[in-house]
């Protein structure tokens, strides 16, 4: 595999349902970058990420994950990718540790390494006391943390997160943000959708704003401010202005 600067490259990505959900989208996320994908409800964020994760087949376009063509070799692309949705999907009848063992098994991670990593993750997410309890009685926040640990246990190069902070309390959210920050510093790439603009403002290296399936703005916070001609405006104000402008143009 040739070395690449991009962890993710989307070219002309298109998906239609009854109307275009993602419309000839071009997007590049660099290796080791924390990328926040923002947009109003129904803008096409989740559809885009589901196509990247291999959960949806695009109608047209290409998806390259760390240089691997994800459409022609999905298994290789999935080996280096992790996906966490806003609705944590875990097995009620498994314990967090059993769940992570299953995930490690699916990604063929060496068991002793996986076990050490799993225990470390559960401790850092505040689930140490619950690691041998079945997940059936867990709160949504706890379930989300288990799902997140599952995404990290196989040491992915690209982590795709769709609203990962939904349902988390302030302390848990801080744990998760800390863990993601650590991974990015270790060279991992994170692409995340969120409606909590403050998180994007604080954590993201670059921000992309998507509306009606198209990328309408992209850059660092400073670049976005420059593009919008407002030096001191908040991300929230810029986001609303961008989305309103696109809605009016449509």
């Amino acid at each position: 595999m040739a070395p690449t600067q991009s962890a993710l490259e989307l070219r002309g990505l298109t998906k239609r349902f009854d109307r275009p959900a993602v419309d000839r989208l071009d997007l590049t996320v660099r290796t080791g970058e924390f990328y926040a994908l923002l947009g109003p409800n129904g803008a096409g964020k989740t559809t885009t990420l589901r196509m990247v994760a291999g959960l949806l087949r695009p109608d047209a376009g290409s998806v390259s994950v760390t240089g691997i063509d994800a459409l022609s070799d999905p298994v290789a692309a999935k080996q280096v990718t992790a996906w966490v949705s806003d609705e944590p999907m875990i097995y009620d009848k498994l314990t967090p540790l059993e769940y992570l063992e299953f995930v490690a098994g699916l990604w063929a991670i060496e068991p002793s390494f996986a076990e050490a990593s799993a225990r470390e993750l559960l401790v850092s997410l505040g689930l140490e006391a619950n690691m041998h309890e079945r997940c059936e009685g867990f709160s949504k926040g706890m379930r989300q943390k288990v799902a997140l640990a599952g995404a990290l246990v196989h040491d992915p190069r690209l982590i795709i997160l769709d609203e990962p902070l939904t349902g988390l309390d302030a302390v848990s959210a801080r744990h998760v943000k800390g863990l993601l920050g650590e991974r990015v510093r270790g060279g991992c790439t994170v692409i995340m959708t969120t409606h909590i603009l403050e998180v994007a403002e604080r954590m993201a290296d670059r921000i992309g704003v998507i509306s009606s399936g198209k990328l309408v703005a992209e850059g660092t916070l400073a670049e976005l401010r420059q593009q919008n001609g407002r030096g001191d405006t908040s991300l929230e104000d810029m986001f609303i202005a961008l989305v309103d402008h696109e809605a009016a143009a449509a």
């Binding site: 994760a53 291999g54 959960l55 087949r57 298994v75 290789a76 999935k78 080996q79 990718t81 992790a82 996906w83 949705s85 999907m89 875990i90 097995y91 009620d92 009848k93 498994l94 314990t95 540790l97 059993e98 063992e101 299953f102 995930v103 490690a104 098994g105 699916l106 990604w107 063929a108 068991p111 002793s112 996986a114 076990e115 799993a118 619950n130 041998h132 309890e133 079945r134 059936e136 009685g137 867990f138 709160s139 799902a147 599952g150």
Partner: protein, 507 residues
Amino acid sequence: MTTAALSWFARHEIRLAWREWLAMMTGGRRGRRRAMIVGLLVFGVLLHIPAYAVIGRYATLHAPLDKQTLIVVTATILLAWALMLSQAIESVTRVFYARADLDLIMSSPVALTRVFSIRLASIALSVTAMAMLLATPFVDVLMFGGGLRWLAVYGVVIAIGLSAAAIAIAVTILLFRTIGPQRTRLVAQIVAAVIGAGFVIALQIAAILSYGTLSRFAVLTSDATAAFAPGPDSMLWWPARAAFGDGEALSLLLATGLLLLGVVMASLSAGFADTAARASAGTASARRASRARSFRTGSRQQALRRKELVLLGRDPWLLSQSLMQLLYLVPPAVLLWRSFSDSSIGIVLITPVIVMAAGQLAGGLGWLTISGEDAPDLVRTSPLPPSSLIRAKIEVVLLVIGALFAPLVLALMFASPEQAAVTAAGVAVAAASATAIQLWFRVQARRSQFRRRQTSSRLATFAEAFSSIGWAATSALALSIPHAALVSGLMTAAILAATWKLSPQRD
């Protein structure tokens, strides 16, 4: 709470019960209502045929009844009561665990005792209404042949419905208080399954042990049972006498049912609120720990198979259903054991029973492993080709079926190697067919939706039933009339082929 408010709550409860039933029948799709009504009407009309075959000859019977008739009628009513009790236990458990309105009701300014009394009464009403609906074709047949006096059967149905609901409520609340909310859910499911099947199975075992036949009527109509039964004035015959139009017996039976339900409601509705609260809190707080051990080595497929096996082992539905399937296998197993000593030809009957059970169980297992995936995104984003994922899941179904049925086939080998070979082939084909149907009609669902799996595709449900019956018949015929087995096998294969043709298109 005023009387008007109470009657409003009663209407609310009946509406909820009606909508739950409707959702179960239509799979929650409005467009299916008309088809469901037509289907139910057709089913109701068709049910008159077996009803006539079973009960038609009794329509002209009049009281006083001889002892053997009293025994057969009483046993039939007892069987209906056991089935109603089984359904009532399930309904009560569902009210505790599945209704999302307990918090709302308990935080509202109403007298909980009264509200829960209404809820208990509505359970009794829904159980009785369902039983009356199912009894209608039988009553029609009896009235057609014997006149309006048979309307008394509805009275018996109401009386036994009330008593079954009362016992179910008492049993479930007792289970809550003795073993706690977490275990009650599992135990109640098992109790419901065992009660439903237990009565018939016990009669069959008695028949085999005494007469070497699977027919339960052999015991009921025997001289030994008649000699053991009490005299004609016994309370035991009230239900039978009531069904034959004895007004006094019917009044006493109805009064007993009402009294029983009244006593249960009066004594337990106050505690019902507390029990309901513990049930809803219990599901959130009581967490079960599992034994800690090191991560295991193995391939990706092995990891998937291991996960499926662990989940199947921890599935309460599966435990209760497997127990029921195994219970159904007890009579043929007893027959097998007897045949060693007297080479009875009845042993041939074992093969279709085993094949049928294997097909049915494989259908359930197939749904749980193939469609009932609680973490679909995780599995689909894992680095495994979809074909490997499906193969691993199918392997689990066949592995479990093999493990459950291999001992029976092995035991059969000692009695008849030829029959063992036919049975093994039948089990394999029936299990493979049921799994294939689940594969063709797979839909993404949570494992907890298992109860409603039939509503997602009626075609798949019927195909699964016909396939199991077809392969069971083919196996039985292979042992007795091989040429007919070929025809039966081809017909079953044709059903499967047609099912495959009609299954949804897949990517």
